[in-house]
Symmetry: D2
Subunit: 213 residues, 4 copies
């Protein structure tokens, strides 16, 4: 399982969370951290797999305030989230940001709300898609209890369009039991945020998450 | 063939163009007009099939400045463009606008730039998609000369995802020859704009367009 | 006092509300209605002063899905809201939309959140500004009880920048008492929405609003 | 004079430009560098004054893909551009981003197109405003030849609203002569981009710029 910890704009110490992630010893999960762009180089220096939270659909040029794929790669990023529910993008810009990621070798996880959007997302050729059922975002409700079908349907929708696209569960994950439930529903990974980023002991929180795998 | 004349924000008389369109007598083409939202009721009163240029991804509620699907239907619209290259939408909002169109019975034509985006668009379940090769928009270059493969590939991409979705050619159409070329490349319709909207004699321009069919 | 009833995307009959507004007989208030763009011509035909909810910062041209100032004027609009809290605009686009309104003779009411933004708004040269304290929007809390200073400060901020700009109270108005309170705080008008648009008897609701003036 | 070199998304080596800027020895100008967010920490380590190209109007929280003011400060930024012509912001978001900068001690330079917008910008309380006449952006035309009045009018407009706000010339600067012209028109600083960022010898380019002061 791939476990991506999204630090959002949380008031956490990104290096401390990164060190906790780097210390997790398991062969059953790959843990990565997605900090603010300005924190990527510090996080990457810990040795943990580092992701951007977003890259802009631009090439080198006059794009003040953009997040250039080349710049996040320079800083140490290996992948990027795109179209997160807190950062929805235009369809044409998703296509452009995927091009930017391809150009620079960044892995991509393209987020979407529901199985129809997952099929559309998969058709654009990302490495992975993440289904974020809006009714689960930030609620703490585990996906296995709220609406397991949405994950199953997302896995099926992506599979039909392009079987090489991985599917992650992008909401409703706070415990190891939730990670196992996501895996049993067919997900290849999970996106997490506050459960780890805001934990008093991020290393312990991560151990608990991957332990039941 | 479906022939949709998009009046954009052109300085034309929308009712005169609508009457011209209503007067075209052919069994080989259905002509529709997409005026500004504020002109829909006047255009619809001519009897021509009337489309909106956009509807917002909202339901009834507190959405000042939106273009509510129910309002354009009230005014006489039967269909709507979505995600036109001059009005690109977020993926989640395209999904919401398609829901609004379904809810109110509007036909939908979802625009996109290239075959990959056409596949993504088709996966969202619109009635039709329109491929708008950016290199043809507003150039007057006929699609049959510039890049015929992009139309062929768009038709194929949509077909693979959902064979019930029609495919229109959304740029590079100014003459009857271009309409025929689009048809031969597999398109079920065309989007036009200035060629008719800015013509001195819109009726003659439309006759010329559908005559070779 | 100017009383602008914003119909937003509410499920009301815009013509019925317009007729109710047209029937209000008072010399103490001017009542205007801001419907969906597609409803402007029907509303204007009742004889009531009709406003757009928004106009785009564009001139005639290739702007699919825009709300062209010329089109809403054609349909009968005499003024337009801009930058409503449900339709926030870029600073440069506010400037462009004000230009569009000037070009076509539309009156303008530019909305903003707080006294600082009201000063900025007034500097752009609209006919009027409306202060919409976010904490009052849609709450039913009367402005006179919640935070009277924000209206007083807005009036003062606009006055300092440009005394010719009218100031409206854009939230927290549901009763005639609220209208009087706004007037006493220095406002030249009020923006209303659900209190009239969703009333069983819009004419009675409007009578109640202007009666205490 | 304040000389801010905006690296945009240019294919330059940000550390090399920063070192060049740090090496400029003059008491007549303060030179700062605005790199991509992901490059801020590397640039700041050179000792040069470092600026962000943008910060988001958010506080700590669930804001994936934002540019959090606290994060750019952590990385070493001392100021931020806002509302650059390549990154236009909503009026309410400008206000929010200024709040974020105040909260974290970042200096602010708020860009705008013309004297009216400069007055509006100054009313929001930034440390400085930059006038970017659209007709000069990226043209290489020196401001002193193209339209000197726009700088003079911007200085006057800001002065009237708030004399404590500095005014920078945000376009049309490529030579030391242009910097002197801007200063003579009343500007307190200049924004530059390609002239330095793309120079073969950035240190020499900067020396040439500040030499005539």
């Amino acid at each position: 399982m791939f476990v991506l910890v999204n630090l959002k704009a949380y008031p956490c110490d990104p290096v401390a969370v990164a060190e906790a992630a780097a210390s997790v010893e398991t062969e059953k999960a790959d843990v990565a951290i997605a900090p603010q762009a300005a924190h990527i180089s510090d996080v990457a220096e810990t040795g943990v797999e580092t992701w951007a939270q977003h890259v802009s659909p631009v090439e080198h040029g006059s794009h003040t305030g953009s997040t250039l794929a080349e710049a996040v790669v320079d800083a140490g990023a290996e992948g990027t989230l795109l179209n997160h529910s807190e950062n929805r993008l235009k369809l044409a810009d998703i296509d452009g940001s995927l091009d930017a990621a391809d150009r620079t070798g960044l892995g991509t996880c393209l987020c979407a709300n529901n199985p129809d959007q997952i099929a559309a997302a998969a058709a654009l050729g990302p490495d992975s898609v993440a289904v974020e059922p809006p009714e689960l975002i930030g609620t703490g409700t585990p996906v296995s209890k709220a609406d397991p079908d949405i994950v199953r349907d997302a896995v099926e929708a992506a599979e039909e369009v392009d079987p090489s696209v991985d599917v992650y569960c992008g909401a409703g994950i706070s415990t190891g039991e939730d990670v196992v439930a996501a895996q049993e529903l067919g997900a290849d990974g999970v996106l997490l945020a506050s459960g780890v980023a805001k934990a008093d002991d991020p290393a312990a929180a991560l151990e608990d998450l991957v332990e039941p795998l």
